[in-house]
Symmetry: none
Subunit: 414 residues, 2 copies
């Protein structure tokens, strides 16, 4: 089964809203084993909508439209799909009555145009929309299926879950189901990761594809098979090969974030961490406390933005700052040691650097960051020259800090 998604709305072509619906539907379809070969977005223009729909109907088994089912004149989807499917729309008395009742109950006058929402295809039917006045539409004609869904996400998403997915699963017998997994890699760039798994990227099924993220790389493994279980097995086999090669470079899978991985390692080890941040300004503490339950492993963080705060809060020596500058190996070390001592935690982290866009010099350019990790064996410092905007430098610095902590926790564990 092959499908195309068509989003309808001039506001999408003008970029006034981001099409989160299409991504949601695409995910639901791929999970149901339906291949989406193409997505298209067209404006509220009948000629161009019908052109896109006609091609889509010809080339696919299923076409699903998003939006354009409202009561107003620029809501043209139902008419456009009827033309492309060679079908006609007729009024449905039951829907018309429900609409009248809806408006009467709320004391709102119903206009003539509202009754357009009571039109249904001759070869098809309405799809229940519990959260709005516009029902969806199902067209079934000449072995082709078209489904029209309304655009507001609070109406659209429940209809995907309650109608589209079960309806299509019943039609596909689960044949050709797709499963995928993401292995999340940190500490190595995209092209080096690719070198390691290059031979595994040659196959069509399962596929292995790398995606560069800020401060990490995601490897997506996707497999297709007759059933979900078989597809899952294929994914798992391939994931096992990748895991064997990348080892500790992989910190997590699917939606697991680096901070989740770190907080669960801290909990497993019964360890705690406190942080003293300069250039990251609270981002490291924020990432750690994003995780529910992090209070068990994280008592406190210090945002030592000024030099005197570094001295006052983390006990950095003023002579160290004078001699080496606030952005230095030595200050990072004293921040980490100081915050660890102050909160008697297993680990202390210190970060100092130049996030930019200003404040760089030839010797200490924008993006220069020192990250220190202190534990009962002493203190380890990484010096990095990070590339990108202020926000990216800060994110990469935090990635570095969390990964240093993760690797130490993994070593401690054994």
């Amino acid at each position: 089964m092959r499908a195309e998604i068509i989003s309808v709305g001039t506001e999408l072509l003008l970029g006034q809203i981001v099409d989160t619906n299409a991504a949601y539907l695409a995910k639901a379809l791929s999970t149901a084993g339906i291949s989406v070969y193409r997505r298209a977005t067209v404006g509220d223009n009948m000629e161009r909508l019908v052109a896109a729909l006609t091609v889509a109907v010809a080339e696919n088994d299923i076409v699903i439209t998003i939006g354009g089912l409202g009561p107003t004149m620029d809501d043209i989807t139902r008419d456009g799909v009827a033309v492309a499917m060679g079908d006609r729309l007729v009024p449905n008395d039951e829907i018309a009555e429900n609409l009248s009742k809806f408006f009467a109950d709320r004391g709102i006058p119903m206009t003539e145009s509202n009754l357009r929402q009571a039109l249904v295809p001759v070869h098809g039917r309405a799809i229940d929309n519990p959260n709005g006045t516009a029902p969806g539409l199902l067209f079934e004609k000449d072995d082709k299926i078209a489904i029209c869904l309304p655009g507001p996400p609070n109406e659209f998403i429940p209809m995907v879950d309650s109608f589209v997915t079960p309806f299509l699963l019943a039609r596909t017998d689960n044949k050709g189901t797709i499963r995928s997994r993401i292995l999340r890699v940190i500490g190595m760039g995209e092209s080096s990761v690719e070198q390691i798994v290059k031979d595994l990227m040659q196959d069509d099924n399962p596929t292995v594809a790398p995606y560069a993220k800020i401060g990490e790389v995601h490897l997506r493994i996707t497999a297709r098979h007759d059933t979900a279980e078989l597809a899952e097995e294929l994914v798992e086999e391939r994931a096992a090969l990748v895991r064997a090669r990348l080892g500790r470079l992989i910190y997590g899978e699917d939606n697991q974030t680096l901070e989740q991985a770190v907080v669960s390692l801290l909990m497993d080890n019964g360890s705690t961490v406190a942080v003293a941040e300069s250039c990251t300004g609270g981002l490291l503490a924020k990432r750690i406390t994003d995780i529910p339950g992090s209070s068990r492993v994280f008592p406190a963080g210090l945002v030592c933005y000024s030099n005197s705060a570094k001295e006052d809060l983390a006990g950095v020596n003023s002579s160290t700052i004078e001699k080496h500058g606030a952005v230095s190996h030595e200050v990072a070390t004293e921040l980490a040691l100081g915050v660890r001592k102050r909160f008697t935690t297993t680990y202390g982290i210190g970060i100092t650097g130049i996030a930019g866009p200003d404040g760089g010099t030839e010797v200490k350019p924008v993006g220069l960051v020192f990250v220190a990790l202190a534990d009962n064996n002493g203190c380890k410092v990484e010096r990095a020259h990070l590339l990108g905007s202020r926000s990216i430098v800060r994110t990469r610095a935090v990635q570095t800090a969390l990964n240093m902590l993760r690797l130490s926790l993994l070593t401690q564990r054994h």
Copy 2:
């Protein structure tokens, strides 16, 4: 001038990521007066990519692709566009040298595949990418233009701003230009804002439309006219009417964030602020220090996650915590007063609350947050019951804190 946007990436068809880039580009094009009639999304499959590109090149003056320019084998865009444009790719020595230097500087081995990023069209050139190794590509042949941009948003967005928009503005005569502005509102919900500007929302040109964001509302004003200047005038007229009605509820315009507004008010007033955060765990400090130059107004932040950190760092009395609980009006007050005193700042902010998903009780439910603002007149506390996930509660709490500070700064100024 007519354009099509083609997003390339199997991850988009699988719904694994939301295509925010396409919306950003669509907005930039419409602002430049270029009509986008269609957007399409295809996977990492050469045959289908070339098919989509060939139609797009035939039907439009400009085709812009997003993604698929990385160094790996599944990055097929540059080859696909060359085929569709009837052009060839040749290695560019300067880019190859820069790439080698990039890797050498960082002590990372360069792989053969990285050199694919040094290929440029015979009829065209590379487009500078300051934030990544993949340059963009410009093809110009037979009155058709194709532009290829990399997919990572941190590379893509600056290239749209610095290259695509100026390049295309130079090619068009700015006929039928659209201009829009966003007025950013805080401290009132979407439907109440709508009530105030409802009559202004009736017109077709300019349009006024509200968008609910987390902890704020954006009002978008869009106007279309023959020239950019005339469109801008229409927007400005309407914006003046809205401003007159909403007054201080508007904190900023367009891309100005709440933290930017607050940091510039602090700078203008010669004021400073220090913060003591419990449930927001560093998010407030992070938001303030997102702004370049914030070190002039923000010496330090305390993330007092544990009770003892509240006592040790911000001088909260243990008896206050015992008597009223850590989430209380009284503890928020002592946090704000304590941090202000400790860093001798103009303002001190204290936040304590229950971010969830666990830890709520009947009396103190998840979402209960106290935000305190201390200044030389004493301390003001807001109690809020915030709705949403952990992350949304934290964001709304920070919005509340920043807005309290903003309103106080506005009052001080006069």
